[in-house]
Assembly symmetry: C2
Homo-oligomer: 885 residues x 2
């Protein structure tokens, strides 16, 4: 018979896959001799079989649970369901990968009318007993029996109102008894069955509920967001209860071995006396700082600090632990590697290298590249004097401005629409995740640094101000009050998660600077990575930013944005509506010096580094006014009959818009197709690039322009453009007697280009995979149309593991890239190959590019540090893979 249940002393920390993170760590701590309430773990395999087997326990599971329960009774000297000396247990989920707040927990299991008597007698504390009982019914009713939590909350609220008290802990014993009675009535009313009295039945139902919760919506969403596979299953931890709510000599708390926000080596945490488990993290009462415990209970505090120091040394990483004090006795309830801000992660990793705890490669592996994002975003300009309207806890660093929105659903909708929104809530719950993901920042009026909002926001690298008590939210009227101010839905506010301040309106921000830890870690990364890291930048400002952040070149300099500048657009439009080559040339002649000056500035900024400039790509109608508006304008002009010249002009524009309108512009007249139809456009651009380079060379500045032709599907499209550019360049360079290093290459962004890369490499001197378009054509999915309509749903439902526009699809798009690299290098072994789609800054995709043998990735400037780290991690992963083989 398969072993489905492990007693704590049968496991260790290496067994996470089987026992879940929580279980493996409980086993490890047991092995270390730390003060752990005893218990046992039901394996993830049991959960997987239960799920597969139409929610039936696998054979032998229940018997093994009973055996282990016996052992626990023996060790605890208590008996499960016994009136005199009842054993109470907690039942918690614990997956292999930590999923905080996502899964369900039940405390005080084993309580019923009978065992209550034993508890009262043994604790000699009726209030404690009934408090535990009502908590149990509430949790069990909500989690196992699926009754809405707010129904229980309402009963509790009513009782508090009746008794005119504010905190749960102030409710009288008779009040608690009343609550228990009403809870049971509620259960009966909602379910049509009595609340289960039999502790064995309670246990079985709780285990089943944990198993089932693996597939609840919150858990599934969390796994999507964090890219955790669906088939891991969760373990179930059954553990003897210890009680932090036995009075003021009891308490419960959470802590970190180092500050998870700054990384400082300090004792960091929060606790509440006379409270149980969830009270601290749920943010219902505002907890005290751990340093306070040193004063309130110096012995317990000393013990705690000793024990967690042992923990950190054992795990060689920051530990996030929970503890409970039952009548002055300390218990560690769980430990795990602590989540931390990016800033903290960097400091901790570097400090631990200095302390000799870990080596540099381990430090590099420790940092989640995506998390660096939060260090690379803006903060409020410190030179501006601002009066905050409110202050809360600095729960997750970074600043954000946005419109105030009060519900997760609306935040999701508006955020997806591209609006900047700040989600404002009393406190957040896992049900709000979908809205939090789409917000620019979170503001809560309750809860601490370890509240749900704070933890989640830190994980996502999103600014958060938590527990701002100044704020009074009126959900119904969709506004919040702060002192005498009223902020309505859609008003702009700015939050600063670094200081905890909240400001009215939008506020000037400044760009982030990299800390010395950040720079040090990236220098370690640079030493081992093999991929080059370029940036996508279209302006001198972005180029500078990119260079500052470590970009080794510009991988994609789009020229269309230069066409969009307000003073240029009329000239561009004149070019487009030109009837003939001559009048088109007149417009182009005006554009030439403008384009040239753009290139001069960018090339100067990027001196000595390659700058890959893409010739005009988008369909021409993108430069023309909106169709419906022009239609209306023409109708208007016709009716007034006043301005005939204007009418003529507008009619011409309208005619051209109509001519250029396309069914599927993505697949229409754009890229090199434009360049072939109107050769004079690319000729102007090539001339501008060459002339700009010459101007700089004459000033003694070394430049490396590379000219990139977009949307090539066939070598015969590239050939004439290549020849024409070569000819122009030769003419100018010969005339100016200048030698210029430059290349002409192409985007590989259509399947056919990848499939015929051997032919294309006969002309192209470099390839740049345009994975945005390549993903669109390989999947046959228009990103504009699909994301809202079905693509996100695909990801939610697991049809696609990732959104292929975020994470490069290895099986399809990736296969084309591999084909393209192989064929291209067959023709030209020294072909320079990179990627300039948005995937260039996404760590999984960077790893793919490393493995596919690309020369560089190119991404937005802020993502350059992420790519640098990810590229280093790709090398480390490859090494560890090779050493495992």
């Amino acid at each position: 018979m398969k072993k489905y249940v492990y007693y704590f002393d049968e496991g260790n920390k290496e067994m996470k896959k089987l026992l879940g993170g929580k279980g493996a760590n409980l086993a490890e701590m047991t092995k270390m001799g730390l003060p752990i309430p005893q218990g046992f773990i039901i394996t993830t395999e049991a959960c997987i079989e239960y799920t597969k087997n139409q929610k039936q326990f696998p054979e032998g599971l229940w018997e093994q649970v009973q055996d282990n329960l016996k052992k626990l009774e023996k060790n605890s000297n208590k008996i499960f369901g016994n009136i005199e000396n009842p054993l109470l247990v907690s039942v918690r989920s614990g997956a292999a990968i930590s999923m905080p707040g996502m899964m369900d927990t039940i405390l005080n299991l084993g309580l019923n009318e009978h065992t209550m008597q034993g508890i009262i007698k043994k604790s000699n504390n009726e209030r404690f007993a009934f408090d535990s009982y009502r908590r149990f019914i509430q949790m069990f009713g909500n989690v196992v029996m699926d009754i809405k939590g707010e129904l229980f909350e309402r009963i509790l609220e009513e009782t508090k109102q009746k008794e005119k008290v504010e905190n749960d802990s102030e409710i009288s014993i008779s009040g608690l008894k009343e609550v228990v009675k009403k809870y049971k009535e509620l259960v009966y009313k909602e379910i049509g069955e009595k609340f289960p009295e039999d502790p064995q039945k309670q246990l079985r139902m709780a285990i089943e509920a944990v198993f089932s919760s693996w597939d609840n919506k919150r858990a599934v969403t969390y796994r999507r967001i964090h890219r955790i596979p669906d088939d891991l299953g969760t373990a179930v931890n059954v553990q003897e209860m210890v009680f932090g709510n036995m009075g003021t000599d009891s308490g419960t708390g959470v802590g970190f071995t180092r500050n998870p926000s700054t990384g400082e080596k300090e004792n960091y945490g929060e606790y509440l006396l006379n409270a149980q488990g969830e009270d601290v993290v749920a943010g219902i009462r505002t907890p005290k700082s751990l340093t306070q415990l040193e004063k309130e209970m110096p012995d317990v505090y000393k013990q705690l600090i000793e024990k967690v120091k042992i923990l950190e040394n054992n795990y060689k990483d920051v530990q996030d632990y929970e503890f409970t004090i039952e009548k002055n006795k300390l218990y560690i309830l769980q430990t795990r590697d602590g989540k931390r801000t990016a800033q903290a992660a960097l400091k901790i990793a570097i400090d631990m290298v200095k302390e000799g705890l870990i080596d540099k490669n381990t430090a590099l592996k420790r940092i989640d590249p995506n998390q660096l994002n939060q260090l690379l975003h803006r903060r409020i300009d410190p030179n501006i004097e601002l009066e905050p309207i409110a202050t809360g806890l600095p729960a997750s660093p970074g600043a954000a401005s946005g419109k105030v929105i009060f519900t997760a659903d609306e935040a999701e909708k508006r955020g997806k629409n591209g609006e900047a929104v700040i989600l404002v809530r009393q406190e957040t719950t896992p049900d709000d995740i979908h809205g939090m993901v789409q917000a620019k920042g979170i503001l809560t009026s309750r809860g601490g640094m370890t509240s749900h909002a704070a933890v989640v926001a830190r994980g996502m690298g999103m600014p958060c101000v938590a527990g701002s008590n100044d704020i009074i939210i009126n959900l119904e009227k969709e506004l919040f009050k702060v002192n005498d101010k009223i902020i309505k839905k859609d008003d702009y506010i700015t939050i600063d998660g670094g200081s905890g301040h909240v400001f009215m309106g939008k506020v000037p921000m400044i760009e982030p600077k990299m800390s010395k830890e950040f720079k040090l870690l990236l220098s370690w990364a640079d030493n081992i990575r093999k991929l080059g890291v370029y940036a996508n930048a279209d302006t001198p400002e972005d180029s500078k930013k990119a260079r500052d952040l470590g970009a080794e070149g510009i991988g994609l300099c789009r020229t269309e944005h230069m066409f969009m500048a307000p003073e240029r657009l009329p000239i561009v439009q004149a070019m487009i509506i030109a009837d003939n080559k001559k009048s088109r040339q007149i417009a182009l002649d005006k554009l030439l010096p403008m384009q040239k000056s753009d290139f001069v500035k960018i090339l100067e900024e990027m001196h000595d580094l390659p700058v890959i400039i893409r010739l005009l790509d988008p369909p021409l109608h993108e430069f023309l006014p909106n169709y419906e508006e022009t239609l209306a304008k023409v109708a208007q002009l016709k009716s007034t009959k006043e301005n005939k010249d204007e009418l003529k002009k507008q009619e011409k524009i309208l005619e051209r818009i109509e001519m250029l309108r396309e069914m599927n512009p993505m697949l229409g007249l754009r890229g090199c197709r434009l360049g072939l139809l109107y050769p004079e456009i690319y000729e102007m651009q090539a001339r501008a690039i060459i002339e700009a380079s010459i101007e700089l060379i004459k000033q003694g500045i070394r430049v490396k322009p590379e000219i990139m032709i977009p949307l090539v599907s066939h070598i015969n499209e590239l050939k004439p453009i290549y020849n024409s550019i070569k000819k122009i360049a030769k003419e100018i360079l010969t005339r100016e007697k200048i030698v210029l290093e430059y290349k002409i290459g192409t985007m590989i962004e259509l399947p056919r280009a990848a499939l015929t890369a051997d032919e294309i490499a006969e002309y192209a001197e470099f390839f740049s995979f345009g994975t945005n378009d390549l993903t669109q054509t390989t999947f046959g999915i228009s990103r504009d149309d699909a994301e809202g309509k079905f693509l996100l749903k695909y990801v939610e439902e697991g049809i696609l593991k990732d959104n292929p526009f975020e994470v490069l699809d290895p099986a399809g798009v990736g296969k084309l890239i591999k084909i393209g690299v192989e064929l291209g290098r067959k023709t030209n072994p020294h072909l320079e190959i990179g990627i300039c789609g948005e995937h260039g800054g996404e760590p999984n995709s960077v790893e793919f590019c490393h493995n596919a043998g690309l020369n560089y990735v190119s991404c937005s400037p802020f993502r350059v540090p992420i790519a640098r780290l990810a590229a280093a991690q790709a090398v480390l992963k490859e090494k560890s893979k090779n050493s495992n083989n």
Copy 2:
């Protein structure tokens, strides 16, 4: 030194690549001892080197020309440029692949003021001499010196008007002298140089002109249309002149050894006495039938028939020959395999097999599958009594209705717009090709069965009525008169190229029937082909047609057309605007019996054969009204305020149209994406298919439905749909206790599907390559947008060899197909794989499919015979390739 020039006795018919078709045949005929005016051939290699070498003669060419000219002088006893006894030559192009009318010819070269004296003296015929001279100046001036032909024609016309004669041959000697003078003045005026007097210079210029004409626009267009490579080059034939214009004992003619229109074994041809070369084919004078020659010159006729019989036996194919009679002496001037109608091609091939001239495989190879098209199109319903308004020569069989258009440019434009047009011209020239290609039929008022219009139309399988003298065209007023009727531009007419009749308006047509020759040949094809041939058909009528034409199944039965029927559309729309699953289901419940009855009829028609039914594919907005119209309707309803219910309904429709509008519908919410978002639609369709099958099985009819899921890019899209259909089918079949053979498979129409075909084949029981969409996504080209805007230009300019939507692109799309086949069969070696894009009926693509190992091709019903033949030819080509290796 390379040999660039071959005297006629140095070559043979196998040397076409080097000597061109004309030259190789002249050499062959010389070898056969036929009466050929002697001469020599400049090779295609010389042309290629000339083109490569910036229009310089390759080294040694001119010297070799001189050597061969010497030999020709010796053989002819005449001297080039000599006053007394001048040798005159023709200079003609001759490419390896026959390009009639495309390349340029110069006759009577060697004439000048001096040699004219010799010609007059020797021929004793001043009229002949000056007629020859003015022809030479006209041809040379036009072809070599690039002076517009109409300028020469105008001088000739003026002379005729002055002399009040109708035909060129009636112009007086003094008139001809005047013409020669004016021609020379014209040349000087246009070019600023005198017409060259030196015969050597004439010869050199003529050779250069032929070389250059390889790249003239007409030739390039012809090569595009006929898919002839651009790098073959043309040979130049220099041949002693013989003269058909020496009087009434002289003449010139063309003939076929069998009737090229019907295939009958008869002497077929036309001639003119006292005429030269181009007169017959140019259609300027209407020629006499060859049978007339038997009466006019019985000896010459007998000789001619004997000689061409020898020719046919030698070439084992119908010969298209030219001859000239110079003072009762017969000369054969050239021969080539005769172009013929499809009907003739079939009859000739089968007759030749019966005669033992060729074997069956040769017969199969002889037929151009594309040509069969003309046998498969409509003709005028013979049961209708119709009065033709005019009659001409039945120049190319088939009937067509269309709007009258008078210029090639407009015919091209309107034809590309999808309008049916009939190009009406006095006579056509190679400059009209671009318009002819886009017309449905050609009507000319002058010229015979071998006129340009007739030859080209037959080649393209396009109906043509030629030389309808009843018709008087007024180009300026854009109309033609016929008796007392006036037919204006854009009026509809119908032409019947089988009878030569022209009718007013559109006329009822009937479908073609296959001749017994056609059926016999296809039965030979069926015996050797390996590919199955299915048809794309959405209706019982099309299914029947397909089966009659030999389809072995339906490869693509689209279900969306069934949704478009007027009585169903409101229900479909109700389904689309449904807010919820329930009201959507109500609409679907109404559609179910309708869909079922469609499938019953189609499956019944196709009993015992597979029918592949594709579930709903297009985006839903295609079923909704036009956006702009609905917008207007809503505005209208709002202003009248009368019909509030209708307003509400229209507003809802408008809202839904707006919601469903897409930037790139090709890549949007369609295909299986719809099926996943609204599973109830596919469920209804699956149910309809299974229930229809059961209904027929109960009647004892064997059916083989196959259900096809469109637009799959990832196995996870197919999986849930597959499972859902399986479940529905199992439920119904179990309930009805029926065993049904059916399959569930998928389209492979996105690059990702081909690239992950191994995964997809784990569920899909068949693949059908949807090469229309696969071409769109592989190239990143929207066919709707591209064809008018740049794709045809790409083909014209040689950027693409073929339009990839017509001929499957082997290097890109084809590579994906091969990848898909290989991966699919790796998972499932017995996977059934076909193609259902429009390429399925295109011979080159059929050959590709054969070579790629597909099981079948599926095409429109009329293309089924073409595919059957092409599939057989693919086998023969493969065999001959293998035997060559």
